[in-house]
């Protein structure tokens, strides 16, 4: 019930949890935002303690008292240790690879132990998706957790609220904290498969540049460049020569291709247009074409390679430009 109220009132939740999301940089979990309550096993333990205490009183057992009180002390120490297992962890988010809408974004989370003791069995859960993982953080080192979240719509997907929880060492208490790091994932529009538009009149000037490198017919090897697709790396040759080499092809479609929003049928909505354009970008990239992207307010000069495709898809994801 309380969870529901807090979900409807994010400001109340922020006030209660003592932080204003998103939090920049490395978030160090101070002890004030680590919450702790007895777990169900803790209540069972309490019942066992009550039995022991009654037995000790009834039978006047000096050692029984000693045992009961030692176990009570153990419970108290367990509580402090459970909170300690979470306190002062440094949480930071790594870069998330862009995904297409409909896929699952993968957020990398770095949990820095920042302590000279290990922190076993820490659960990290993405509250929105329920994606979760239990990690052990060794002393003075960093554990990496990858949490998935569904990317429904194009644009920036913020990581959202995360839960960190632990019950170590005795399982009697449950300590948890919420954190919302400043991490986001770029979500490209969902690509729609459709035939590429013909190289239009704009391409006329570029036609003389043939033969341009394409990917239809193998023509030789050249040294690898960062923008080359891994699919074109000549892996067999690399294994022989110890040097990164890229297969070169002679393409037929050497013409400059403009992926223009205006080429799309007029009846399409914005999202559908962007989806189709994203599909075109992928198709053009696959075909090795020299292509550019044009939309109202956006023009990306023709080019090729993975980073070019990335730039085009990014423009589509964040359309309209700010």
């Amino acid at each position: 019930m309380i969870g529901g109220i807090l979900a409807r009132n994010p400001r109340l939740a922020n006030w209660l949890y003592g932080f204003e999301p998103p939090e920049r940089g490395t978030v160090v979990l101070g002890h004030r935002r680590v919450y702790i309550v007895p777990a169900r096993l803790g209540w069972l333990y309490g019942a066992a303690l009550a039995i022991l205490l009654i037995g000790s009183i009834n039978y006047q057992l000096g050692l029984g008292f000693a045992l009961t009180f030692l176990l009570a002390g153990l419970g108290l120490a367990g509580m402090v240790h459970t909170a300690r297992n979470l306190t002062r962890i440094g949480v930071s988010a790594g870069r998330a690879q862009p995904v297409f809408a409909g896929e699952r974004a993968q957020f990398r989370l770095h949990l820095d132990s920042r302590a000279r003791f290990d922190r076993p069995a820490i659960l990290a859960r993405h509250l929105g998706s329920g994606s979760q993982l239990v990690v052990d953080i060794p002393q003075l080192s960093i554990a990496e957790v990858v949490l998935e979240a569904p990317a429904a719509r194009r644009g920036w997907l913020p990581i959202g609220r995360l839960l960190l929880e632990t019950r170590f060492p005795l399982g009697l208490f449950r300590a948890w904290t919420y954190v919302e790091p400043d991490a986001r994932c770029l979500v490209y529009p969902k690509p729609e498969r459709s035939p590429l538009p013909p190289p239009a009149a704009h391409a006329a000037g570029a036609a003389q540049r043939a033969p341009a490198a394409g990917n239809e017919d193998f023509s030789g090897l050249r040294s690898y460049q960062l923008s080359d697709s891994p699919r074109h790396v000549a892996w067999k040759a690399v294994a022989r020569s110890d040097q990164m080499l890229t297969k070169q092809f002679t393409g037929e479609t050497a013409a400059e291709l403009w992926l223009d929003g205006q080429l799309l049928p007029a009846g399409l909505g914005l999202e559908q247009r962007l989806s189709r354009l994203a599909g075109w970008v992928l198709a053009a990239q696959r075909s090795g074409a020299h292509y550019g992207l044009r939309l109202p307010g956006v023009e990306i000069a023709p080019g090729r390679g993975d980073s070019h495709a990335g730039a085009c898809l990014r423009a589509l994801a964040l359309y309209p430009p700010p």
């Binding site: 529901g4 979900a7 940089g25 777990a39 169900r40 096993l41 333990y45 066992a48 022991l52 037995g55 000790s56 009183i57 009834n58 039978y59 006047q60 057992l61 000096g62 050692l63 029984g64 008292f65 000693a66 045992l67 009961t68 009180f69 030692l70 176990l71 009570a72 002390g73 153990l74 108290l76 120490a77 367990g78 402090v80 240790h81 909170a83 300690r84 306190t87 002062r88 920042r114 302590a115 000279r116 290990d118 076993p120 069995a121 659960l123 509250l127 329920g130 979760q132 993982l133 239990v134 052990d136 003075l140 929880e165 632990t166 019950r167 170590f168 060492p169 005795l170 399982g171 400043d182």
Partner: protein, 655 residues
């Protein structure tokens, strides 16, 4: 908000073979002492249940069905009922608990079941204390507690190696000890049980009883159990004078002597005597009301009273170790007043027994001028009678006194005292049997006298008109060695205990050390009761020792301890180094002026941007940026530079 599958929820985590091994190992440690007391078939069954569970774990087959487990449980409970004819009571209750531990294992699938079994192990620890709370038991159970705790930690951290888990268990217990000590000292204690206990709750207590018949003291004499310990403030009485007076026997039926439920007389304690002793007694529980005191007690402990025949009685049966302080005088001044009814009772004899003894007594009575002379004739009769002192006296028939005096001539103290009182009464001298303990062993380490059940003794008291009640020990008369050098020396024929031999002196010394430690343990750990709590609280200056004051103190102490624990918990956390702290302070100062560092902005870019935005502090900002870059990424970071950076950041004024 919480999805169904929670990877930390114990009910969803399956136990591994490792978990199971730890759990069974620690449970076996707890059950081990019980296995010696439980019926053999039950121990075997419990072990079989453990093994059965392992078979399932190693073979990776599903656990037995609930019905099978229930059937085993039913059969075992039937077995317990056949063994004890009840399922309630201490012993059957404990063996059932032991059984349940095995059955619980058999249905343990997840960590929740396993944790419940571990908690059951904690409860099983305390059942051991119902039998013994000695130091070795405490050590063994401490080990079991440690093992169970490590097992629980293993459940919470399945990927961790056992060694760090053991280390965590040790750390947790080390943190628990101060809290436990505070609770132990300050938790308000109550004296009385909360409700009735099972009938066999005190079955294990040994000691003297209300009756004395041939054979029951000699069986006690074989027991090495401690009856009580006494600590004297000043000098110690000699061995031969240490008569610890207990129940007094009045009524004889030809075989058994019985003490009187109520003695219609008033007892006045002696005011003066030849020597006085002050001492404290720690009495082991014997489930009877009488307390033991050195003859003759001049005072009674608080809340105790004198009976008409001079016993000291507690208001309730002594069921926990009891400590009391007393004073006694030796050879008290004579008190010749006695209730006539009591004197008549001290002459009563059952008709038709022991004709020879009656005849002998009649002969003495006729010949003697007064009662003193009757007594001295009887004493010399015993002295010259060549009686043997033995733990294994021959069996006696209906005329037990006659047979002992004239036929077998061998007996234990109960035979001597019974025969002597019979003779006295027959000769017209009021007499009674007194049981108690004689002697006791002085521990040179802590100067405490330990009195064991084997020191149980019976002697007599006769009433002489001029001297009142006078102690006569017929055993000492007939076998002088018994009282002067203790039981072991007196048993010339029987083999001596190993410890008593002179060549094993070192062994005896070791035992003295051990017993001194055990005594301290008894007083401070096991015997810590409301009274002792009150004394201790008064000592540290807490006057109002009702439960409210104790609880308030307790919570204060616990609060302080929790705070200390919390402080400790932050101790091993790594703090950012001074350079990083200075840089962060610098960023915060700039951010307050609206120049916030974006997460992907390097220090050089940031400093330059800030310098452009805040031209007034341009020099300082650029210097700080350069210093930080040099300290962070440069080849030789120096402490002087770091100090300069900190100083610069602190003195940076931006407004």
């Amino acid at each position: 908000m919480t999805p169904a599958a929670h990877p930390l929820a114990p009910e969803l985590r399956l136990v591994s073979v490792r978990d199971l091994a730890w759990l069974t190992g620690s449970l076996a440690l707890v059950i081990a002492p019980h296995a010696l007391r439980a019926p053999w078939w039950l121990t075997l069954l419990t072990l079989c249940l453990f093994a059965w569970r392992f078979y399932y774990a190693l073979d990776r087959v599903p656990l037995p069905s609930r019905w099978l487990v229930l059937a085993v449980a039913g059969a075992a409970m039937l077995g317990v009922w056949i063994e004890y004819r009840t399922l309630f009571g201490r012993q059957p209750g404990i063996v059932l608990l032991m059984l349940f531990a095995g059955l619980k294992l058999l249905e343990t699938r997840t960590h929740r079941d396993a944790a419940a079994a571990a908690f059951l192990g904690y409860i099983l620890i305390i059942t051991n204390f119902l039998y013994t709370q000695s130091i070795p038991t405490a050590v063994l159970m401490g080990a079991a507690l440690f093992a169970i705790t490590a097992t629980l930690i293993g459940f919470s951290a399945p990927n961790r190696a056992p060694r760090p888990n053991l280390r965590t268990a040790a750390l947790l217990l080390a943190h628990a000890v101060p809290v436990a000590a505070a609770l132990f000292v300050l938790f308000p204690r109550v004296d009385t049980p909360l409700w009735g206990l099972p009938r066999d709750a005190y079955a294990a207590m040994t000691g003297l009883s209300e009756t004395m018949s041939p054979g029951n003291l000699s069986s006690l004499a074989l027991s090495d159990a401690i009856a009580f310990r006494a600590e004297f403030e000043g000098g110690l009485p000699a061995q031969a004078l240490r008569y610890w007076r207990g129940p007094v026997m009045w009524d004889f039926d030809g075989r058994t002597w019985r003490s009187a439920e109520y003695v219609p007389a008033r007892f006045a304690p002696p005011a003066r005597g030849r020597a006085a002793y002050r001492y404290g007694v720690v009495l082991e529980p014997h489930n009877r009301t009488w307390l033991f005191a050195l003859e003759s007690a001049a005072s009674v402990p608080r809340s105790a009273r004198y009976s008409g025949d001079g016993q000291i009685l507690a208001p309730l049966p002594v069921r926990t170790r009891l400590r009391y302080d007393l004073s006694s005088v030796l050879a008290p001044e004579p008190r010749v007043q006695e209730t006539p009814a009591l004197l008549r009772r001290a002459l009563r004899l059952p008709p038709g027994f022991n004709p020879q003894a009656l005849a002998l007594a009649a002969q003495w009575r006729a010949a003697a001028r007064n009662q003193d002379e009757v007594v001295s004739r009887a004493v010399s009769f015993l002295r010259q009678g060549r009686y043997a002192y033995t733990l294994e006296p021959p069996l006696l028939g209906a005329d037990s006194v006659d047979e002992f005096l004239f036929d077998t001539k061998a007996g234990f103290c109960e035979h001597f005292s019974s025969a002597f009182v019979f003779l006295m009464r027959a000769a017209g001298v009021p007499a009674r049997v007194v049981t108690g303990y004689q002697g006791g062993e002085l521990n040179p380490v802590d100067r405490i006298i330990t009195v064991r059940q084997s020191d149980a003794h019976a002697w007599t008291e006769v009433f002489l008109p001029a001297r009142g009640w006078v102690r006569v020990d017929p055993t000492a008369v007939a076998v002088p060695g018994r009282v002067e050098s203790g039981l072991a020396r007196a048993m010339a024929q029987t083999e001596q205990a190993l410890m008593q031999r002179p060549e094993f002196r070192w062994l005896r010394d070791l035992r003295y050390q051990w017993e001194a430690a055990a005594h301290k343990w008894n007083i401070w750990v096991l015997g810590y009761n409301p009274e002792r709590q009150r004394e201790l609280m008064n000592l540290v200056g807490i006057r109002a020792t009702d439960w409210r004051a104790l609880t308030a103190t307790l919570f204060t102490v616990l609060g302080v301890m929790t705070a200390l624990l919390l402080l400790w918990s932050l101790r091993h956390v790594v703090r950012p180094d001074p350079v990083e702290r200075a840089w962060r302070a610098f960023c915060a100062k700039l951010a307050a002026q609206g120049v916030e560092r974006s997460p992907n902005e390097g220090p050089r870019d940031y400093a330059e941007r800030a310098a452009r935005a805040l031209p007034a502090a341009r020099r300082a900002i650029l210097l700080i940026g350069a210093l930080y870059i040099g300290l962070r990424y440069g080849p030789h970071p120096s402490a002087r530079r770091a100090n300069q950076l900190r100083h610069l950041v602190r003195s940076l004024r931006l407004t």
